[in-house]
Amino acid sequence: MDRVRWTAIGKIALAVWMAVVIILAFLMPAQNLGSLGQAARVIFFHIPSAWVTVVAFMISSVFSILYLVKRRRVDDHRAVNASVLGVVFCILATVTGAIFATITWGSPWNWDPRETTIFFLLLFYAAYFVLRSAVADEERRAVFSGAYNVLGLVVVPFLVFIAPRLSVLAGLHPEPLINVRGELDMDWRALVIFLSSLAGFTGIFGWSYSLANRVSRLQDEILEQD
């Protein structure tokens, strides 16, 4: 069987995998999810979204560095495409978080440390896209936005992992997955579903990213042929 067949099977498998994850995420008894009850089911979607956001933005920064070093157009495409997907999943994480906030604390937005930092993260990448649209020349656009994007290597981990944990900023957000003692505090059934969802979301990102890059490559090839 050729490669196309295998990837097709993989994609169908992903469809089934995520369907099962969704079913289990909702059928799993709520009492094993801790004190938050039914609303806690959001972790199966909210955290994987945030995880993919970080992965996507990190990949984007790496390709920006690669572009600045090697100056290959394809690396710029890979950087932008990863940034776009990062923003998409960041919005998903923010919205699922707001849904959870509405159920648990009565209002979708409270400017607590986690919510505020994700807002800044979105602003950071909004600025990236504004920068790109402001530069007409393709090469200069890639260089400027590449340089800006390298900052992401510091900004993203800081905003996502460090800032919300600073004890100086007490917040509403539930204890992060890895708590203050450095342990993972989750019922094993929930953990299995959670990790499966994480894998599935990563697969969705991988497929979407590969599609985006193939489209960019097609655009380049078609332009070349003219």
């Binding site: 196309v4 992903l14 097609l218």
Partner: protein, 50 residues
Amino acid sequence: MSGLLVDEVTAIFVVMAVTLVVWLGIFAYLWGLDRKVRRLEKEVRRAGNE
């Protein structure tokens, strides 16, 4: 707020069904996109070989 229109058990099934539909919709979109890209790639490759 809970139990306003349906009981909690029904509500969970509804949310699950909606989530499932959303996922299958996204999957169908990605699959269709993948097919179009594959077709375009074949065409461009053919045009490149002429």
